[in-house]
Point group: C2
Chain length 464, copies 2
């Protein structure tokens, strides 16, 4: 297939005003934010305006065997929206309407191009909240559903899949299906909603999502606790969860990462110099409540608990300082990137296994003469590691060892970034072949022509 | 295949001590608690003691094309554990060990034959709770995972699928896979945990489940509020959820059902006779808290709210009366069965659509000259209807109309009971054929020989 064919075929299907190709194509369509995936421009980008047009695109793609890669805001970290050479990008930027904010059922119904920021504004207006904040508010909901996005609030509310109640999606056959609905419970056949969520655009193109909303809490507070080392901070997490206080965020940062975000965010957290000097790791807790008195009680309870768990000091941050710390923490990826990180991984392990895992990480990094720093969602056992090692071969071996060590601790390769094109070789090397074979059969069930985002998560071996 | 062959083949695989057939077979193996599915004894029952034995059973079943139906405690209401004629039941009664109560990660790891009662005792000992209480504590966890069991606490904690973090399962190919783990978030390929949960034994045989636990709340209270009619009680639900108080249970009962459970449970709820005389529906709210002062505040807040929403009176029940009311409510199915109900359905609709749906139910019941009564999980929009209509044809048409009306309200056919063999004809008639075809292709991906619980949820059409 040559470039002009793909654009021509799609233009014939949707009209030339909805297709871009050749010189008019922005380089943006060739990449996302993954650090280690080669950019690749598609043969064409198509901009459907509604579900019927998406279905038409899929139908002609099946007919002409054109690979299709869905694209939201392209803020992902796994390369899952980088297209196949000669294929087309399906951009959802025109399908960006909030279709309903249903205050009686506490759901939002959105098109895939709606951004988190857009949804947050609309829900705030009615004192509700969509609780997934993966740290980049320009991200689209379609992308969040495809990636099963997480973020700092997952320890209280869960991740994207826990909020996705229903979908409209176009299968790889061109058929449009609707799954789930404006309810939390159902047991009526296989749960296609959950299967499509997190499938990174390889099973279906999501054209509408029904998302769970919650009452927005009125009061929040931030606690910062420096610790002597990473071991001590990660060991403090299980008792904090066991307390039942139910914090909104339970984050850890190592000294390097804290220094970097303090510098880039120009933060003054009020930590005294003597404490700073002996603190190699930090715990950040955010609490929220619907009553101010309860918030104060919870802050007291957790501050006392944390002090007893080895914190060198405990700071309850003033509201503005707390907000700025969280905002700076959200930008940790950009800070790491600016510092020259060569790769980023986000292993998840059982939260009580974090101390043991972090010791292994330090050992593996040392052995590979590489520098590894990070922060993460401690309440969820989700460890974000920035890897500084310019040599691709040494780095690849180290990443593989770090992921294998996470799996050996009973963990998973990615907690929230996804696999995409960035980590599929690690998945192929480390995951059970029986599971990979099953994934391939499931993909074929949804997408018999293998046109939906081929080469993401895994390579489809010929089924014959 | 004749009966002796199946037993002989399985005895050869596992040893004759682990197979029962012929006259030694209890009639229990031919039914569950579904009201409208014909009992069917299997050719044999096999009792594996571990995962390797389950895998061996599946391997010989594939070789000899023996249908296999998994069975836990057989307390299900959909006939999903009623075997195929000439097939075998795989009973998990020997695989009944709690493998771990992990207090640091808040998970339990259980074999499928563990009962809810057994798990509740073990978790209570460490002040944790597995929060799914579908009303029958002799139910097995394997059955709960297969059915995606719900119950009264779902409005706060969600249903079984929200607690299943990982599985070990034997595919229809005989391969053993492990999915998920002791963590809440991951995005590493397709979520097989969620797909197998709720698949009613048609995709894989679950041999181990990793389940989420929560801190057990110390304090609870029950509020009972009589209303003039069903419309008023269901209309009160959205504001209660919107309040943010977060009740543990939000249940409604119609007058008929309340009278029946009060009589069968010999309850004295302290409702005055003048109020009783004008109350056609009841709301029951249960709250829980980790601090007694907060519980009192929450009770006050909700009692005031409910009074403003049209309750004829509001009773805060003494602890023992509250417990007895909930226990009697849990037995509502048995009460309905004892009263001669001919069928039971559990449609789910968006909770704000309950008033409209209940009006349709009344109209449809009247038109069919049938009597329909019920109760349900109002917070979840999950409506349990007992249908009294002895004529199977009239009843079948009425059930179909009731389910279709639920779907038209944006709902689903079953909120928690599942489809099994009891409702598959309704699913075939009412669900989107494109979705049914996709389900069949997914089943084939897991179970290419179609030996796992064939004829549950849907009939597998020949793939040729």
């Amino acid at each position: 297939v040559i470039v002009t064919d793909v654009a021509g075929i799609l233009a014939e299907a949707l009209g030339s005003g909805q297709v871009a190709a050749g010189d008019s194509l922005s380089h943006d369509y060739g990449h996302d934010e993954a650090l280690n995936v080669t950019a690749q421009l598609p043969a064409a980008v198509v901009f459907p305006a509604n579900t019927a047009e998406v279905a038409r695109v899929v139908a002609v793609a099946v007919e002409h065997r054109i690979p299709l890669t869905a694209r939201g805001s392209a803020t992902g970290l796994s390369g899952a929206c980088i297209p196949t050479a000669g294929g087309a990008v399906v951009s959802f930027e025109r399908m960006n309407r909030i279709l309903d904010i249903d205050t009686a059922n506490h759901v939002a119904v959105v098109q895939p191009g709606v951004t988190l920021e857009q949804l947050d504004k609309a829900t705030a207006a009615v004192s509700l909240v969509y609780p997934v904040f993966p740290g980049e508010s320009s991200a689209s909901l379609g992308g969040n559903v495809a990636t099963n996005a997480g973020g700092m609030r997952a320890v209280k509310y869960g991740v994207t899949r826990h909020q996705v109640l229903g979908l409209e999606a176009v299968l790889g056959t061109g058929e449009v299906i609707r799954t789930g609905g404006r309810f939390v419970k159902a047991t009526t056949g296989y749960d296609l909603t959950q299967l499509i969520t997190g499938s990174e655009g390889t099973l279906a193109l999501v054209t509408e999502a029904t998302l769970r909303l919650y009452p927005r809490s009125a009061y929040s507070a931030t606690i910062l606790a420096p610790f002597a080392d990473l071991d001590a901070v990660t060991a403090a997490v299980p008792p904090i969860i066991a307390s039942g206080v139910g914090p909104l965020m339970v984050e850890y940062l190592d000294r390097t990462t804290m220094d970097a975000i303090v510098a880039s965010g120009r933060l003054d957290l009020g930590v005294s110099q003597p404490v700073k000097d002996v603190s190699l790791a930090f715990l950040v807790l955010v609490l929220e409540q619907r009553r101010d008195v309860r918030l104060e009680e919870d802050v007291q309870e957790l501050a006392t608990l944390v002090a007893g768990l080895g914190a060198l000091d405990v700071y309850v941050l003033p509201a503005q300082a707390g907000t700025r710390l969280i905002q700076a923490r959200e930008k940790a990826f950009w800070t790491a990137k600016a510092a020259g990180a060569d790769d980023i991984i986000d292993v998840v392990v059982p939260r009580a296994s974090m101390p043991a895992y972090m010791r292994e990480v330090a050992e593996l990094a040392g052995r590979a003469e590489s520098w590894v720093a990070g922060c993460g969602h401690a309440g969820d056992g989700n460890v974000h590691l920035s890897i500084f090692q310019p040599d691709p071969r040494t780095r690849g071996a180290l990443v593989r060892d770090l992921l294998a060590a996470g799996l050996a601790q009973g963990g998973a390769i990615s907690g929230e970034h996804g696999i995409g094109k960035a980590k599929k070789t690690y998945v192929a090397a480390l995951e059970d072949p029986a599971k990979l074979a099953l994934w391939r059969r499931i993909k074929t069930a949804f997408d018999p022509a293998h046109i939906l985002n081929p080469g993401s998560i895994f390579d489809q071996e010929p089924s014959a």
